[in-house]
Amino acid sequence: MTMPTAVALEDAKVAFRLGDGRVYTAVEKAHLTVAQGEFVAIVGPTGCGKSTLLNVAAGLLRPAAGSVKVFDRPLAELNRDAGYLFQADALFPWKTALDNVAIGLEVRGTPRAEALPRAQKWLTSVGLGAFANRYPHMLSGGQRKRVALAQVLIRDPKILLMDEPFGPLDAQTRQVMGNLLLDLWNADRKAVLFVTHDLEEAIALADRVVIMSAGPSSRIIGDWSVMLPRPRDIFEVRLDREFHSLHREIWSVLKDEVMKGYAQSTQAAEVV
């Protein structure tokens, strides 16, 4: 049985015009599909354009060539089926945690009286039931990510786009957040496109791990299925033998790209 495709990037190319008129190609001919209910992680060295690819899937960025399809329809504007979890803090600092979560419904026209209890329920399910009246600056980094997760999920998007969402957190908090994400995802199995630079995180979370080469003009150079059983526990799964062999296998490819990416970034710094 094949699941319908949620997101399909077909030979997508992303290019930017630089200040001096030259064109910088970030991503070249990216071909990537995410099936409904599938959790796909994109891993690549810094600056390989993985976030760029996510923005294309979100409709925040137009590809210079190729196409984006969402549920087999070409994406013309913003991806209305997608929820986006940003790397940087994206909560509205002037709204309380509760209002930040409720806004996703209010924007849609849900009356506030109805939106607030549902937001409270979501806050509780990300473990922040008692923090409803806190403003973002009164919360820790991990708590803010939880609010952001609730803010996105309350709208029940069919597709979840995540741009290194746990990047700024410390190692332990990341694992806790990873487990929370898996628990929530298990409930209704949305299509997920998860960008990270952390290979372990990618394998532990995803059904498929996609590797990108170092930029510029980066490409997708590998695609592995992760056969680890679900439901998973991120703490446990890292001890699994299959996890280790897969990690070794993917890392052997990724390592070269990471070194290349590092060399390029230092060279670029010298030119500048």
Partner: protein
């Protein structure tokens, strides 16, 4: 340092200054009074002048006039600043066209406008309000403009991805951001509203604290000038205190209560 020690040290500074002032203006040193009373008056006279103003009730009318002028200048200037600031920030073309003129008007020392306003609006409160407005407007305008321009890219994208329309972005993102910038300059703009009112009164009026000071100066009543200055600074401190209360209420979501005053 405990609060009590700090407070007593602060009081001590005032006491030392007043005592020195009183001594130097009354007791001759080597046969010469260092602060001639004609030019410097002395704390006792100044204080009795203040008491006289309050006990006779003369001062209330002047305080009231200055307060009304300041509030009107603040409200009108802020309103104009918010609206125009918003408009310019959302319409880059308009902002680009008007940019040199905005800079030009803002570069003008506002005091020179006072005679014009007195001619146009008479010697009543409105010429003072107008002067205050020209001061307040630009502070609020620049802050709101900046606030709308510098909304974080991520927060905007987040708003869009959450399905906000342009109008909803306005309401939930641009507007709160602009207001927070405006409120962070609240101390400055309220202060300037008072400056506009008092300077306007000083240059020509029939009531207000500026008028009181100007009258005293006209008859070489130095005690009156100093008394006016003390009442004025107490007045401004009270207003500033009120602003702090308002600010605490409105900017609870801010990481640290801003203490900036330009």
């Amino acid at each position: 340092m405990t609060r009590v020690t700090l407070l007593s040290l602060q009081v001590l500074v005032a006491v030392v200054c007043l005592v020195l002032w009183q001594l130097l203006s009354t007791v001759p040193v080597f046969g010469k009074v260092l602060l001639p009373p004609f030019f410097f008056s002395n704390p006792v006279d100044v204080f009795s002048q203040i008491v006289k103003w309050f006990s006779s009730g003369v001062i209330w009318k002047h305080l009231w006039i200055t307060l009304v002028e300041s509030i009107l200048a603040f409200v009108i200037g802020s309103l104009g600043g918010v609206l125009i600031g918003f408009w310019f920030a959302r319409q880059p073309l308009v902002a680009a066209v008007f940019d040199p003129y905005v800079k030009m008007v803002n570069a003008l020392p506002r005091v020179v406008l006072a005679p014009i306003f007195a001619l146009w609006l008479g010697l009543g409160i409105w010429s003072k309000v107008a002067l205050g407005v020209t001061l307040v407007f630009f502070i609020v305008f620049f802050n709101v403009y900046q606030g709308v321009k510098e909304v974080s890219r991520t927060i905007l994208d987040n708003g869009r991805m959450l399905g906000m329309s342009e109008r909803q972005l306005m309401q939930h993102v641009y507007w709160p951001s602009a207001l927070s910038w405006m409120f962070s300059s609240l101390h400055t703009s309220v202060g300037f509203a008072v400056v506009g009112a008092v300077v306007g009164e000083y240059l020509g009026s029939a009531a207000g604290l500026g008028y009181l000071i100007q009258q005293a100066e006209g008859v070489f009543d130095v005690a009156g000038v100093f008394a006016g200055m003390f009442v004025l600074s107490a007045f401004v401190i009270l207003i500033d205190f009120g602003v702090t209360l308002v600010e605490r209420r409105l900017l609870v979501w801010r990481p640290t209560a801003p203490d900036g005053r330009g």
